[in-house]
Structure formats: C-alpha cells, structure tokens
C-alpha cells in the first residue's frame, strides 16, 4: 500500500481532514443523543403516542408531526415517481440530439433551484391552485372518503405540502432513475426490438428490469422529502392535530422545529422534545439512504454484464 516513506507521509498529512469529518459526525450524534435523552427519559413512550404541544404546562407529544412527515413524504414520493418515470423514459428513449440536451439541462436546473424559491411559489401560486381545482372538487364529490372529508379552508395542508415537495423532488428522483435506466445493457433493448416489440412493449420490459432501482430511488427520495423544511413550513399549515383528512393543516417534524425551536429555550423540556423528534427523522433518513444506496449498488453490479 505505501510504496515509500513519502507515500506514508502523504497519507498521514491527509488524515486531519478525515479525522475532522469523522469527529464532527460523532459529535453530531452525541449531541443529538444527549439532548433528546432528557425528554425521552421523562415522558417515555407517551412522547411518541400523543399529540400535544403545550410548553406552558410542559406537556408534549410529537405523534402529529411524525405522522405529518410520513404522510407528506409518501404523497411527495408517489407524485415524484409518477412524474419521474415518464420524464426519464422521454429523455433516454424518445428525445434526441439538441432537444435531449435541453431537457436534461432543464431537469438539472430544476433540481438545483433553492428550496426557498419553491416555497414562495408553492405558497402563492400552487396552494390556491390546488385548493380551487383539486381539493375543493375532491371534497365536494368524494367527501365521504375520510381522506377528503374536511373542507380545505386555507389551501395549506398536508396534501399541498406533499405536492409541493413532490415537485421539488422530481428532478432528483429523475436523475437517479435515468442514471440506472441508462445502465441497462443495450442487448436487452436489441433483444426486444429483434422480436418485433413496439416501443411501448420494450419500455415495459426495460422498466420491469429496473424495478429494484426505481424502488431504491423512491427510498432515497423519501429520505430527502422527510428532511425538507422550507417548503414544508410554507405549505403545511402549521397546526398540531391528528386527523385522517389530508386537507387539514398539520405539522411535519422539520416544520415544528423551524417554528418552535427558536423559543424552545424558554421552557424546560421543549428543546429536548424537538431533539427527540429530530432524532426519529434522522434515524429514518439515514436508514433509508443507506438501504437505498446499497440497493442501487447491488442492482448496478447485477445488471451490468
């Protein structure tokens, strides 16, 4: 490994950066654990089974934001997958030359736009649009389904946040799917075409081959959606409540942290409770990213012959 003394010295001189990175990550986890310990130790399991935010009386339960994070992330990942697959197919299969370059640049552009820009657009344009054209009709005609049972009052709801985050997530998921889809060896494509398959039949077969990769992309997308803050605060409505209805204002974990952490120091347990909620989200995002990444790596090793 080290072919000379110089190489060993070089290796050692590069170490401080890695030690710093490792140290920061360890410090990070230690801070999270020690800060959340107090509230978990005090409230035990009730912290995660009740929905209360009453710092004046020191009563807490973070079930509502946790569910809110889960529901908005599910909506956004579902939307992102539905939009990403056609976009990926278009860029890889149907578009060529200049137009393909332009479209993939646009996807890249969309992926890098700061989330605050998505937030201001979602709050001012998307929320009223969804309220008038999606939520109100759904409530009027399908109101007997519990998911649509409440009247959308402000247009700010879990549903709006899910759609807004889903739009911002689409470029990321698209780039993951394109990357995998391109790796499918040409021989599968040739085999499909040689037996006279139409483009539709070929794409269907190729998509079924890349199903694990799409699932992994969805997991990575979920991890990103769960941590999204700016768009969530602007569109989720910020109310602590647990209801089956998607059109009711709610909270996500990141939204409750964004709006309550600033004053949390005034109360005995509030800060620690927010740390516990953050810990749950962090555990979920780390787990999903590792699982998603290792799934992608395994799939790529298997598909490339």
């Amino acid at each position: 490994m080290f072919r000379s003394k110089h190489d060993r010295l070089f290796f050692i001189s590069l170490l401080p950066a890695s030690i710093a990175i490792t140290g920061v990550l360890i410090l990070f986890i230690l801070v999270m654990l020690s800060k959340s310990y107090e509230s978990i130790n005090t409230f035990r399991i009730e912290l995660f089974t009740k929905s209360v935010w009453d710092p004046e009386n020191e009563r807490y339960g973070v079930l509502s934001p946790v569910i809110g994070t889960f529901v908005t992330s599910v909506i956004s990942v579902a939307l992102a997958i539905v939009l990403s697959i056609p976009l990926s197919i278009s860029t890889v299969e149907f578009l060529h030359g200049r137009i393909r370059d332009v479209v993939s640049s646009l996807v890249e552009l969309m992926g890098g736009i700061p989330t605050i820009i998505y937030a201001i657009w979602s709050l001012n344009i998307l929320a009223p649009f969804l309220k008038t054209y999606v939520m109100e009709p759904l409530h009027r005609y399908l109101g007997f389904i519990p998911l649509f049972s409440c009247r959308p009052v402000t247009g700010l709801s879990m549903f709006t946040a899910g759609v807004a985050i889903g739009i911002s997530l689409t470029p990321y998921v698209t780039s993951l799917i394109i990357e995998s889809y391109k790796l499918i060896p040409t021989m599968y494509r040739e085999a499909c075409l040689s037996i006279g398959a139409t483009r539709y039949e070929m794409v269907k077969i190729l998509l079924s081959l890349s199903r694990p990769a799409i699932l992994a992309s969805a997991m990575l997308g979920f991890a990103r959606a769960a941590g999204e803050t700016t768009i969530a605060v602007a569109t989720v409505g910020n109310a602590i409540s647990v209801s089956m209805c998607l059109f009711a204002p709610a909270y996500t974990v990141s939204a409750i942290i964004a709006s309550q952490y600033g004053n949390a120091g005034l109360y005995l347990y509030a800060e620690s409770v927010l740390y516990s909620a953050a810990l749950i989200v962090l555990a979920a995002t780390l787990l999903l990213s590792f699982a998603g990444l290792s799934m992608l790596t395994r799939w790529r090793e298997r598909i490339v012959v």
Partner: protein, 281 residues
C-alpha cells in the same frame, strides 16, 4: 403489426411526452411568476433595493435588502474554505488510498452528511456554536453551511479525480514521481477546471440554503454588518421570514429578493454549464 398494438404504442409515446412537458411546467411557471412579480418590485424600488435596509412593516413602500445580500455573500464565502478544503483533502485521500479503512470511513461519512436534514444541522450548530458563543453569528451560519455543502463538494471532487485515466498515474510513476508529486503536479492540474466547477456548485448550494441558517446566522436587519462574530442576515432567510408575515411591503420585498436569488443561481448555473461543455471538447 396489428392495428391495436400500433395504436397502443402511439398513445403510450404521446402520453409519456405529454407527462414530461407537464412535469417541467412548474419550472417555467415558477421562473415566469418570479420574474414578473420581482421585476415589478425592482422597478418600483429602484437601485435603493440593493443599498437600503428593510422598512418597518407598516410604513409605505421603500427600503431594500442590503443587510441580507451582504450577509449572504459573507456567510457563503466564509463557509467555502472550510467545506472545500475538507472535501478536497478527503477526496484525495479516498482516491489515492481507496482500500485503506480510514479513507473508506471518510468516504462514507462525507457522503452521509447529505442525508442529514439541514434543519437538524442548524439545531446542532445552535447547540454547539451559538450557545457557547452567546449569540447568533455569521461564523455559526458559515459552520452550518459548510457542513451541508461538504457532501456536494466531496462528490464533485472525487468524481473528477476518479475520472482521470489510469495511464496518467502510470506515466507519473514511470518518471519517478511519488504519490504526492503525482497528485500535486499531474492530477490537480488536470482536474483544475472540474474543481472550479465543484466550488461553484458548492457556492450555489450554500447560497440558496435556508433551513441551516434558521438558528445560526441570526436575523440582523437594521444595518449591514461585516463582523463575523455578530449576527447577520441572509437572502433566503429573509424571504422565508417575510413570506410568512401578513405585511404587504414584506411580500413585495420577498418577491424582489427571490428574483435576485434566482438570477444569481441562473448565472452560476450557466457558468457551470459552459465550463463543463468546454471540458468535454
């Protein structure tokens, strides 16, 4: 080919292309809305928009985003040296010594920062930096930004270093260079442009970040501050605060600031695109 299969193929291709256009529609609508709303505000406020502080909420029109603009640039520039140097050293380590357990650990850890929600970074930096220092500060904001932009810089640098063909390494060794000389005299010059592109991407990422600054940079809007130990402001943070207030003048300023942010981002994006295209030639 049967008629039905032909038809199905046609419908499929049409539907896929249509959905793709629909997927990109929000991007165009977003840019159009921001340009229309923002340009109006900039036209009314004029150049003062870049030199004045935000007005009190119930005053008439007027004022600007100077504290946020200067703060954003200050905090982002402060964060760059930290994230870029750490990322570059870690990238060199993991490409030069890929099988060493320490470099593998550095690789995994550098990447795993990307999956930490930025709001959590903000909380932890608040606890570790802001509380001991006793106040919000540009420095704390820069620390938070460098943590969230580290994985972007690392990915850019390690992809660039890994893309160098093996023959260059062999050639360098053949003339008797050791690893340090190979990296410093052969590899870095080859990837110089890619490194610049990586820095630009990192800059754009850090400049647009909101959540990481929520509890770190502070919200000092009464004047322009260049003291890194004092609280400052940032453009995304100011927009975030202003769109959640009920005041009309704040909404106007938020639209104008969003246009400024969008233009900065577009400029960086175009710069990156032209640089990358030239590399390919």
């Amino acid at each position: 080919m049967s008629r039905w299969r032909y038809l199905k193929d046609r419908i499929f291709v049409g539907a896929v292309l249509l959905t793709s256009i629909l997927t990109l529609a929000p991007l165009f609508h977003m840019i159009a809305t921001i340009v229309v709303n923002g340009a109006q505000v900039l036209a009314i406020y004029g150049l003062r928009f870049f030199t004045e502080t935000p007005p009190p909420p119930i005053s008439g029109a007027g004022g600007g985003i100077a504290p946020a603009l200067v703060g954003s640039i200050l905090v982002t520039l402060l964060s760059l040296p930290l994230s870029v140097s750490l990322a570059l050293l870690a990238a060199i380590l993991s490409t030069e010594f890929p099988r060493n357990p320490i470099s593998r650990l550095a690789d995994t850890f550098s990447r795993s920062f990307a999956s930490i929600p930025t709001i959590i970074v903000s909380m932890v930096v608040y606890t570790v930096v802001v509380v001991p220092m006793g106040s919000f500060s540009a420095l704390a904001g820069a620390v938070a930004l460098s943590l969230i932009s580290l994985p972007y810089a690392y990915t850019a640098f390690s992809t660039a270093l890994r893309s160098i063909p093996h023959t260059y390494r062999e050639a360098a060794y053949a003339v008797g260079m050791n690893r340090l000389q190979t990296v410093a005299r052969v590899f870095i010059p080859i990837v110089k442009r890619a490194v610049v592109v990586g820095i630009l991407i990192t800059f754009a990422r850090a400049m647009g970040e909101t959540a990481a600054l929520l509890f770190t940079a502070g919200r000092y809007r009464a004047g322009v501050s260049l003291d890194i130990r004092a609280a400052t402001d940032a453009v995304p943070l100011m927009i975030f605060d202003f769109i959640t207030t009920p005041f009309k003048v704040y909404h106007e300023i938020a639209w104008g600031a969003t246009l400024v942010l969008l233009l900065i981002y577009l400029a960086i994006f175009i710069a990156v695109k032209t640089a990358v295209r030239e590399v390919r030639l």
